[in-house]
Symmetry: C2
Subunit: 308 residues, 2 copies
């Protein structure tokens, strides 16, 4: 195992689109900077929450070029570079490494089902071998509720053994704490990030590296506050607060809900745009979401003081 380039609260950054449906590089850059300023430990751009798979590889690479040129530190970036085709995945990984990104987050190939562990190993190791860079740090992206195909506990061990300097961590978006716990038990030193802050304190207490969470787009400051204070007596109360925010968001389709939150709290209505097959929240959902967040006293970037 190797030194770990990432820890803390990483945000799979939402991708803004223009009225014409094009990726909006300017808004994206401003938002990335704001997230870092609010305490994000890194930016897992081009994840599921980012609608990355609704963009072509060329569109993703152009956005990354723009971010780096605009001065977002590449070592803070962990772009998603997964694809169904090894040729696309290798191009995305090579591009990220060329920019000096701290790491990449790799979906398994997600079209064919069923697919064997041997087949996934051949795909990911083929990409790593093609790119052949000592600078490459791969984080496995396990999200079976969406990708269906995932990384089994055994397969993770095979990657760690075969590529100890390269495959250095995993985002676990299974939503299954027993899987996260098993990974933490089996592979100490491997950087495990649960895919939701609901598991953040439990993960940190078992040696987890932090979390990579969609709701960080709305509540990165709150989640980062728990990360900074997880060994203090307030930790459980901080966990309860961020869990409440997450559960409120989770009553709505997550990506359009988060875009609605950004549009509302940053006073920038253009942010609600999504690309099909996603659709924006309808008016009733939008109003309900903002009202639900008001009820729990949610504000952006700071937490309401709780009555003692």
């Amino acid at each position: 195992m190797t030194a770990q380039p990432f820890a803390g609260v990483l945000v799979p950054v939402l991708t803004p689109f223009t009225a014409n449906g094009e990726p909006d590089a300017g808004r994206f850059t401003l938002f990335c900077r704001w997230l870092l300023d609010q305490g994000a430990g890194g930016l897992a751009i081009f994840g599921t929450t980012s609608e990355a798979n609704s963009m072509s590889p060329a569109e993703r690479m152009a956005l990354l070029d723009h971010l780096v040129e605009a001065g977002i530190p590449a070592e803070k970036l962990m772009p998603g570079t997964g694809a169904c085709a090894m040729t696309d995945a290798a191009a995305l990984v090579r591009h990220a490494v060329g920019h000096g990104c701290g790491g990449v987050l790799m979906l398994p190939p997600f079209y064919y089902k069923p697919v064997s562990d041997d087949g996934i190993f051949a795909f990911i190791s083929g990409v790593i071998d093609k790119v052949a860079s000592p600078a490459l740090k791969v984080y496995l992206y396990h999200i079976p509720p969406v990708a269906v195909v995932g990384y089994s506990l055994d397969l993770v061990g095979r990657f760690i053994k075969a590529y100890p300097q390269t495959v250095v961590g995993l985002k676990d978006s299974s939503g299954d704490w027993s899987n996260t716990a098993a990974l933490l038990d089996h592979y100490p030193g491997f950087a495990i990030f649960p895919g939701s802050e609901v598991f953040l304190l439990d993960a940190l207490r078992k040696g987890g590296a932090g979390c990579i969470t969609a709701s960080g787009n709305a509540n990165v400051a709150g989640i980062a506050k728990l990360y900074a204070n997880w060994q203090t007596p307030q930790a459980d109360a901080l966990q309860a607060e961020i869990t409440t925010v997450r559960n409120t968001l989770a009553r709505y389709p997550m990506v359009p809900a988060l875009k609605r939150v950004v549009a509302h709290f940053h006073d920038d209505p253009a942010w609600v745009a999504v690309r099909p097959p996603m659709l924006p929240l309808d008016q009733a959902q939008s109003a309900g979401l903002i009202a639900d967040l008001a009820k729990i006293g949610f504000t952006l970037g700071e937490r309401r003081q709780k009555a003692a």
Copy 2:
């Protein structure tokens, strides 16, 4: 509804790869020509069986360029143009229409789950509207066992109503005859192709257009013989024969098994190559498959005469 450019037995053509893992345009062209000579009614290149989603859009477009330049008639081609990103899908569709392809076969966007019918409609209609060509003929590709996301019966009706001159058919690879039957009952004149020849005779008797079947790569002549004779007294016996072949192939992982069959019967070992996450059959599977096919008297391009 409009005139139908395709009928009969369409083959989702296997894609050969070189020893370096590159698409092998020369072998691909020879094989496409052979399939047409054997009676294929069309070539549904770049389907699931073609490992299309293991190729980048640029790789698929280069193969199509090669086929057309080599003289394969574009009107016989129904390339798969599905992708998770509308930008990729639109580029693939535009390219196919530019070549004069008879139609395109469109997967729904298959990464995000769950996805609403409204979201799928927005995606596919967005692609159709972007391409905006009266020459475009779209066949919907319903394959929930692999893509997970699929086209519901209602959604198919919405497309027919919104695009009567453009959305003209569907490949049903659900493996669920009751779904195929419901489509045939609800949408007469819409070209329904079951995704397996096991349902060919049943489909033809209810007004189906033919079938689009993986096993056509091995047994197109046998399947085309049933299509040519489905209203004769031999039809049920011909169906039984092709079902036996299909069921024999289906004991093995379909794509590597079909490549093994092509390698064996065309005496061209290079054909076994697949791209990860697929893997070739191992030696025992290869030997078992060829022995199983020998037991049922399978030969390429002609059928053994059955004892009376």
